[in-house]
Every structure is written in C-alpha cells, then in structure tokens.
Amino acid sequence: MASSSSSSKTGLKKMLTLKSSDGDEFELEESIVIQCQTIKHMVEDGFSLIPLQNVDTKTLTKIIEYMKKHAEKTESNKEEIKNFNKEFVKGSFDDQFELVSAANYLHINGLMDLLCQSIADRINNKSVRAVREIFNISNDYTPDEEEKVRDEHKWAHEGGEFDESLD
C-alpha cells in the first residue's frame, strides 16, 4: 500500500509521481506512465505530480502493475504478456469494474480493450438475473413490460442454459 519509490536507481530518467485518491504516492518513470493518455497530456503540460482523484490506491496499484509489464513489451515476450493479461483479468467483477472505470478515465487504450473484452466474455452467457446482480441493477420493468421486451427477441432467450453464477 505504501508509496513506492521503486526504481530510483535511474540517473537520467525522468520520474513522475502519481497520487491516488487515498493520498498514496507512487513514483514511476515517465516512459512507463505515458501509456496513459490522460497523464501523457498532463506531462506535456509540465506536471510532475499527478493527483488522480478518481482512482484509489488498490486500483492504482493494479494499473501500475499493468503499465510496468506492458512497458517491457518486446517481440520476444509476447507469450509472457499474454499470460500476464490472462491473470490480470481474473479478479472479481467489482474489481474489474473499478479497473475499467479507471482505465477509461486515464485513457489507457490497451487496458480498456483488455478489460472490456474480458467483461464481455464473462457476461456473454449469463442469465438476465445474474447480470442484474453482477452490475447491481434493479429491474425497473413491470412484469408486463419485461415480457414485452423479451418477446421482441424471444429467440435470444432460448437455446441452452444460461449461466446463473455471479462470478
């Protein structure tokens, strides 16, 4: 949780500090952080301490983990990155939602892609009821209305079992 001044061995590399909404600070090389378009623009505007009011420490830690890994991306470690991504999207839906919101806010395109795709894949075969639970949505249809909407695409509700699990 504590702030990490991890790679301070660097001599010439420009460092930036990201500050989470909980007030924790993370020092990172600029070259890592500019994967994030929002921060890149702030760096271009001359900022070196970047407060991220919408991102808490837990989420920011994960996002930094992602950015660090992806900054190492080369031709030879594609498989490793792929495995990393696979692990990265394994968290609970709630964690994924936090992450995707942060990725959207920070404009990290690769991460957006990864998370949205993984969430889409995970809800693909969920039942309507399970999706409501997962997204914490209360059904605002009356039973009649819902029946009507269902009837418009009856076939979409048929054919095989839908997944009722919430993870």
Partner: protein, 264 residues
Amino acid sequence: MIKNKKTLKWSKSRAAISTLSKDVIMDIFSRLPTKPLCKLRCVCKEWRIIIDDPFFKSLHGAHSSRKPNLLLLQEKEYRRYKMFGISTTTVRFYVCNPSTQELVKLRNPSFPDIDGGSSFGYIKERNEYVLIVLGVLLVRNSPIFFAGGGFWLQMLFIGLDMGTSMMTKRLTKEEFGIVVLPEGRFNRDRVWFLVELKGMLCLIDSPEDDYSMDIWVLKDSKNYIWAKEYTIDLSMFDLGLDFIVLLDHREGEILMDVNAESLE
C-alpha cells in the same frame, strides 16, 4: 430475497457501478454478439435504450467488422442474401436477418418482369442495405431504351435500417431507381448480375467466353459512368459459372463464392 447476505457487498458494488459510465457500458456491449445483446435489453430500461441507440449500433457494427470473424459475418450476410425468395410470376422479396431470425416481406416491386439475378448489398456511407434486381428490360423494342446503345435496368433500392448485425429492422424506404448500363459492346445475354462491392454498384459480365469475367464498377451514379475494373480468369475453376457469386471486397481482394465454396 437474499438481501441480508448482500448488504455488506452492496455498498462497495454500488460505488463500482456508479462509476461505470455509459461509454464504458457501450464499449463492453459493443464486444458482445447480437444474441446476448438482445437478451440484455431485458435487464433494465436504460440498457435497452443504450442497445437500441443508433450510435451504439454503429459502434457495434464497427467492432464486429474489425474482428477476425469477418468471414463468418459475411457468411451470415450471404445467407441473408440466399434467403431472398424470388418467384418469377409473382415477384416477392423477403429479407431475413439470420442473427435475429426476423423475416420481413418487402413491398412487391412494381415492375413487370425480373429476368436476372438479384443481389444484396450494404452501403456503408448511407448505412443502408440495398437490394439490386437485374434484368428488367422494360420494353425491349422501345426506341427510348435503346437510345444509348445499352439497355436499362431497373434497380430496386430498399433502405433497410437493420443496424449492421443488429436487431431492429424497419423498412425506412423503398425506392426504385433506374441505372443505365455502360454503353458499347454489351451483350445482354452475357450479363450475369449486379452486385455491391465497396459501396459501389458493380456489374459482372462475361463478354468473351465463359472463362473470363469482367467487373464493371459504377463510378458515378449520377451520370452513369462505368469503368471496367477487373477481368478475372476463371478457367482454373472449371465450373458452371452460374454459381459464382461475388461476396465481398476487402483490402484489394475479392471474395467469391463458387458453388457455395468460399474462395479468395
């Protein structure tokens, strides 16, 4: 129902969901196939509105066509094409959207005779599906129609607002248009069909023999300027030519269906 168990979790997930903005939801939805999307319209009113939104449909369409399941998508389109029912005495067209299993009967076209094939295309700029009907030679011996040395075709334009692979399908308009064929050495009996490629109307004919095929592209639809873009040697296929159907054109390659086998 199981509220007690949930209270603890709720405060957290509520915070999470409140931050899932509409554009994130749309980004996630745009990666889903049509079937689960249709299903998700039932989740709540807001989601139904998002999914039915034309902007979302175009996003979804863009996403679907970027994916490598491109061919699959085309196959679907092809099946849709195949599902036109045409009978020569009573001309009647049906359009089927296989991804939603909807079937729509089109208004009977008001021309006397359908002679050649028909084709189905998608015009991206207009976001419309177009049905093209070939070979309505209105009155063969009429001097007017022979004036240009070519002959006339009647083209049926049907604007189908189907989204790209999506659900709602409304007939927005049905219009007829007449397209003048390229002048010159057209042998009417050698014309095969009209097809849409890259949003342009193309005419396929085979003037010399059965082993080559020309593709003419209508470059200027107002003045009917045609250009012969390709000549394809078909001798290697050794097939009954009636079975060739042009499916699509992407990145310089033409996708054809020869005897229902896809080739590139």
